[in-house]
C-alpha cells in the first residue's frame, strides 16, 4: 500500500500528465490551423513563401468581373481592394450574399503560378457587411473603383 503522501503525489502527477498532454494537444493543433488573411495587394507582394498554405483573401467582388460557366457551378471573378485585383476560381454553391460589388472572403490553398482555386467563399449575414478584415480605407477605395467601373 502507498502512503498518504505518495498517493497525493501520484494524484498530482496524474493531473499534471493529463493536463500537460491536453494542453500540448491544444497548442500543437492551434499553430497548425491558423489561417492568415491577405488583401489582393498583400498577396501579390508576399506570394513567394506561401506555397501549400491555406490563406484567406478578402476584398470586393469587382463589378463586371463575374463569369459563370454555363451548366456548371464553376465561376471566376476578380477580388479587388481598390489598388490591385486578384483572380479567383470557385466551383460550388454560392452563399446568398455573394454578388458583384459586395464584400467577400475566399479561402483556399495557395499554389504559386496557378489560378487561386477557392475552397470556400464567406459572406456574413448582414446586408451592409464588409469583409471583416478590410481596413476602412480599403473599403473606401474599393467603393471608388466600383463606381469608376460602373461609369
Amino acid at each position: 500500500m502507498m502512503k498518504k503522501k505518495q498517493k497525493r503525489l501520484f494524484l498530482m502527477l496524474t493531473v499534471l500528465v493529463v493536463g500537460g498532454a491536453l494542453l500540448s494537444l491544444v497548442f500543437s493543433s492551434f499553430t497548425g490551423s491558423l489561417v492568415y488573411f491577405y488583401t489582393p495587394t498583400e498577396i501579390i507582394q508576399k506570394s513567394d513563401n506561401l506555397d501549400g498554405k491555406t490563406v484567406r483573401i478578402g476584398g470586393m467582388v469587382q463589378e463586371g468581373s463575374l463569369v459563370k460557366e454555363e451548366g456548371t457551378l464553376k465561376i471566376r471573378f476578380l477580388v479587388t481592394d481598390g489598388e490591385n485585383m486578384f483572380p479567383v476560381r470557385y466551383d460550388g454553391m454560392l452563399p446568398d450574399l455573394f454578388r458583384e460589388g459586395q464584400g467577400v472572403i475566399v479561402e483556399g490553398m495557395w499554389q504559386g503560378g496557378q489560378d487561386f482555386m477557392a475552397k470556400s467563399i464567406l459572406a456574413k449575414h448582414s446586408e451592409d457587411y464588409m469583409p471583416v478584415e478590410m481596413s476602412e480605407e480599403g473599403i473606401a477605395k474599393a467603393k471608388k473603383s466600383i463606381l469608376k467601373s460602373m461609369q
Binding site: K4, K5, K7, R8, F10, L11, T14, V15, V18, G19, L22, L23, L25, V26, S29, F30, G32, S33, L34, V35, Y36, F37, T54, R56, K68, E70, G71, T72, L73, G92, M93, L94, D96, L97, K124, H125, S126, E127, Y129, M130, V132, E133, M134, S135, E136
Partner: protein, 654 residues
C-alpha cells in the same frame, strides 16, 4: 407615448437601484433594519419598473411606431405579429434592455425568496446585484438606448433581418440571457459569503437551484441557436465554431465545471476557493460573451476602434468585476481555508477533479481560439483566423475524456474507493464497452473516433443502469414488498437531484451520438437536375417534379418541388426555396428538411445554371435529431433535479 413611459421607467429604475445599493449597505453598517428593508423593497419596485419599460418597448413595436428609431430599424408594416413582439431583442439596444430586465426580475425574486433564509448576507447580495444592474442600466440609458426618437418618422421601417424571422432565433437570445443573467445570483451570494465571512457551504446550497436553472437555460439557449443555424443558414451544419457561438459556449463549460465541483464542497468541504473562482469566471465569461457579440469587435477590430463606446464600456465593466472579485477572494481567502486534503486518486473527489480539468482545458481551448485572432489584429498588421479543424482536433479527445469521467464519477465512492467496489461497479460496464467497440468495428464503423465514442458511451450507460439496478435490488431486500417499478420510483423521487443528474447524463450521451453521427458521417452531393430527372443518393431516390414560384405576403420565392423516395417505399415531398423578402433585396436560402430518427435529408436549391437546369445540393445528416432530442432530455433531467426542495434535503440531514 409608450416609449416615453418606457424611458422614464428605466430612468426611475436606475435611481431606485442606487437606493437599493446604498440603503442596503447603510442599513447593514448602521445595524438599522428599516434601511435594509428599503433596499429590498427597491429591488422589487425596480423589477416592476423595468417590466413596464420592456412592455413599453414591445408595445411600440406592436403599434408600428416608426418614430422610435429602434423600431424603425428592426420592424416593418409587413412583419408578422409574432416577430413584431419579439423584434424587441432583434438588435443590440433592445437585447441589452432584455438583459437588464431579466436581471432585475431575478433580483426581485431573489430578494423575495432568500429574505427570511439569509438575513445576514442578503443586504450584501442586494448591493452587489444592484451594482451589476446599474452597470447595465447605464449602458441601456446612455450608451446604447432603444428609447431614441426618429423625427420625422419614416413611412415604413427597415424590417427585421429575414434570417432572424425564425422561431429558433426568437427563443435563442432570451434563453441564453436567462442563463447568463442567472449566474449573477450565485456569484453575488459567493461574494457576500466572502464579505460576511460565512463562506461555508451555505451559499452553494442556497443558490443550487439558481445555478441548475441557469445552466439549463444556457444549454437550451445554445441548442436553440444551433438549431436555428441548421434550419435557417442552409449549409447543412449547426455549429461552425464561430466566435459568436464560442462566446456562449465558454460560460457553459465553466458552469458545467461549477455544477460538479460544488458537490465536492457540499460533501467534503474542499475546493472552496476553486468554486468561488469558477462562479466568478462563469459570470465574467457571460459578460465577455455579451461584449463580443454586442460591441461589434468581432466584425472588425478596426471598425470597433472607430466607434468603441459600448464595447469599451462593457470591457471596463468586466475588468472592474474581475478586480473586485479576485481582490475580495485574495483578501478574504482565510475564510476559505480547509484542512481537508484530497489524497486518494481513487475517489469521487478526484473524479470531479478530472472532470474539472477537462472542462477547464476545453474553456481555454475556446478562449484561445476566440481571442487570439483579436489580439493579433490589435497588436500587429496581420489578420488571422482559427478554423474548425483546430476545435475538432482538440474537442473530440476532450469530449471522450469527459464522457469517460461521467461513467466513473457518479458511482465511485467519496474519500476512498476500494478495488472491490470498483470491480463491482465498473467490471461489467468495461466488458460491455469493449464488446460494443468490437461490434461497432465489425459493423463497419471505420472511424476511430466513432468507435471510441461508442465504447465510452456504452460504458457510461452501463454504469448508470447497473448502479440504479443495484440500489433498487438493495431496497427491495430491505422492504421485502413492492414491485421493482414502485421501488425504482421511490428511489429516484427520494433523491431527485442524483437521478435528475443521471437523466442529464443520458441526454448528453444521446447528444454525443448525434455529434458523432452528424459530424463524422455527414455526406453531401451536388446535383444538376432538369424537371423530371431522377438521381439516387444513398438509399434515397430524388425526382425533380418542377421548379415554380411561391409567395406569402412578406416574401416571394423560387421553389423546387422534389419527391424523395426511400428504398423502403416511403416517399416525401420536399420544397426547398430561395426567398426574397419585400423589404430587402437579399435572397435567403430555405432548406427543405426531412427528419427521421436515423438521418435527416437536407435539400438546398441553388442557381439555375442553364435554362431549366438547377443546381441542387443534398446532405445526408445521420442522427442529427439526436442532438436536439438529447438537449430536451437534459432539460427534463434538470427540471426533475430542481423539484428537490431544500426542506427535504435538510430533513434528510437531521
Amino acid at each position: 407615448m409608450w416609449i416615453e413611459i418606457a424611458h422614464f421607467s428605466a430612468l426611475l429604475a436606475l435611481i431606485l437601484t442606487f437606493l437599493q445599493i446604498f440603503s442596503s449597505l447603510y442599513g447593514v453598517t448602521s445595524g438599522n433594519n428599516a434601511w435594509i428593508r428599503v433596499g429590498r423593497h427597491s429591488a422589487v419596485v425596480v423589477a416592476l419598473l423595468l417590466t413596464v419599460s420592456t412592455v413599453g418597448l414591445v408595445n411600440s413595436f406592436l403599434n408600428h411606431d416608426f418614430s422610435v428609431l429602434y423600431v424603425a430599424k428592426h420592424a416593418s408594416l409587413d412583419l408578422p405579429i409574432f416577430y413584431l413582439a419579439t423584434a424587441m431583442w432583434g438588435g443590440h439596444e433592445g437585447s441589452l434592455l432584455l438583459w437588464a430586465w431579466l436581471l432585475s426580475v431575478y433580483i426581485g425574486v431573489a430578494a423575495w425568496r432568500h429574505w427570511k433564509t439569509h438575513p445576514v448576507s442578503m443586504p450584501y447580495v442586494l448591493a452587489i446585484l444592484g451594482a451589476l444592474l446599474v452597470g447595465f442600466l447605464l449602458l441601456v440609458l446612455f450608451l446604447s438606448t432603444p428609447f431614441e426618437r426618429l423625427i420625422p418618422p419614416p413611412f415604413d421601417g427597415k424590417d427585421l433581418n429575414p434570417l432572424l424571422q425564425d422561431p429558433g432565433m426568437v427563443f435563442h437570445p432570451p434563453f441564453l440571457y436567462m442563463g447568463y443573467v442567472g449566474f449573477a445570483i450565485p456569484y453575488a451570494f459567493a461574494m457576500a459569503a466572502l464579505i460576511t465571512g460565512q463562506a461555508d457551504e451555505e451559499w452553494l446550497v442556497a443558490t443550487r437551484r439558481w445555478t441548475l436553472f441557469s445552466w439549463a437555460m444556457l444549454t437550451t439557449g445554445i441548442v436553440f441557436g444551433a438549431y436555428w443555424a441548421y434550419y435557417e443558414l442552409g449549409w447543412g451544419g449547426y455549429w461552425a465554431w464561430d466566435p459568436v457561438e464560442n462566446a456562449s459556449f465558454m460560460p457553459w463549460l465553466t458552469a458545467t465545471a461549477f455544477l460538479h465541483s460544488v458537490m465536492v464542497q457540499e460533501q467534503r468541504q474542499m475546493f472552496k476557493t476553486w468554486n468561488v473562482f469558477l462562479v466568478t469566471m462563469t459570470f465574467a465569461l457571460a459578460i465577455l460573451g455579451t461584449f463580443l457579440v454586442r460591441s461589434g469587435v468581432l466584425s472588425s477590430v478596426h471598425s470597433f476602434a472607430s466607434d468603441p463606446g459600448r464595447g469599451v464600456y462593457i470591457l471596463a465593466f468586466m475588468t472592474v468585476l474581475l478586480f473586485f472579485s479576485f481582490g475580495l477572494l485574495t483578501m478574504k481567502s482565510e475564510h476559505l481555508e480547509t484542512d481537508i486534503k484530497l489524497e486518494n486518486p481513487l475517489s469521487k473527489e478526484s473524479a470531479f477533479l478530472f472532470n474539472n480539468l477537462f472542462l477547464l482545458v476545453a474553456t481555454l481551448t475556446v478562449l484561445l481560439g476566440t481571442l487570439y485572432p483579436l489580439a493579433v489584429e490589435t497588436w500587429s498588421d496581420s489578420k488571422v483566423s482559427v478554423g474548425a479543424p483546430y476545435y475538432n482536433a482538440v474537442f473530440i479527445p476532450i469530449m471522450l475524456g469527459i464522457i469517460l469521467m461521467m461513467g466513473i464519477g457518479p458511482v465511485i465512492s467519496w474519500r476512498k474507493a476500494s478495488f472491490r467496489q470498483l470491480k463491482r461497479d465498473l467490471l461489467i460496464p468495461t466488458i460491455f464497452a469493449v464488446v460494443t467497440g468490437i461490434a461497432a468495428w465489425a459493423m463497419g464503423m471505420g472511424n476511430f473516433y466513432g468507435i471510441s465514442t461508442s465504447v465510452v458511451m456504452a460504458f457510461v450507460l452501463a454504469t448508470h443502469i447497473l448502479d440504479t439496478r443495484r440500489k433498487v435490488v438493495a431496497r427491495m431486500k430491505n422492504r421485502e414488498s413492492g414491485s421493482a417499478v414502485t421501488t425504482l420510483w421511490q428511489l429516484i423521487s427520494r433523491n431527485k437531484r442524483r437521478y435528475g443528474g443521471f437523466v442529464v447524463h443520458f441526454g448528453i450521451l444521446v447528444m454525443a451520438a448525434g455529434f458523432i453521427g452528424s459530424g463524422l458521417y455527414q455526406e453531401e452531393k451536388n446535383l444538376f437536375m432538369t424537371s423530371g430527372d431522377k438521381v439516387k443518393v444513398g438509399s434515397w431516390n430524388f425526382t425533380l417534379d418542377r421548379v415554380g414560384t411561391a409567395s406569402k405576403y412578406n416574401w416571394r420565392a423560387v421553389e423546387a418541388v422534389i419527391t424523395a423516395e426511400h428504398d423502403s417505399g416511403f416517399s416525401v415531398e420536399l420544397r426547398p426555396q430561395k426567398r426574397v423578402y419585400n423589404e430587402t433585396s437579399q435572397p435567403t436560402t430555405e432548406a427543405a428538411i426531412h427528419t427521421t430518427w436515423f438521418e435527416d435529408i437536407y435539400v438546398v436549391l441553388g442557381d439555375e445554371v442553364k435554362k431549366d437546369v438547377w443546381s441542387i445540393r443534398v446532405y445526408r445528416n445521420p442522427l442529427i435529431v439526436w442532438v436536439w432530442t438529447g438537449s430536451g432530455i437534459m432539460a427534463l433531467g434538470v427540471i426533475f433535479a430542481l423539484m428537490q426542495g431544500r426542506i427535504s434535503r435538510e430533513k434528510k440531514l437531521e
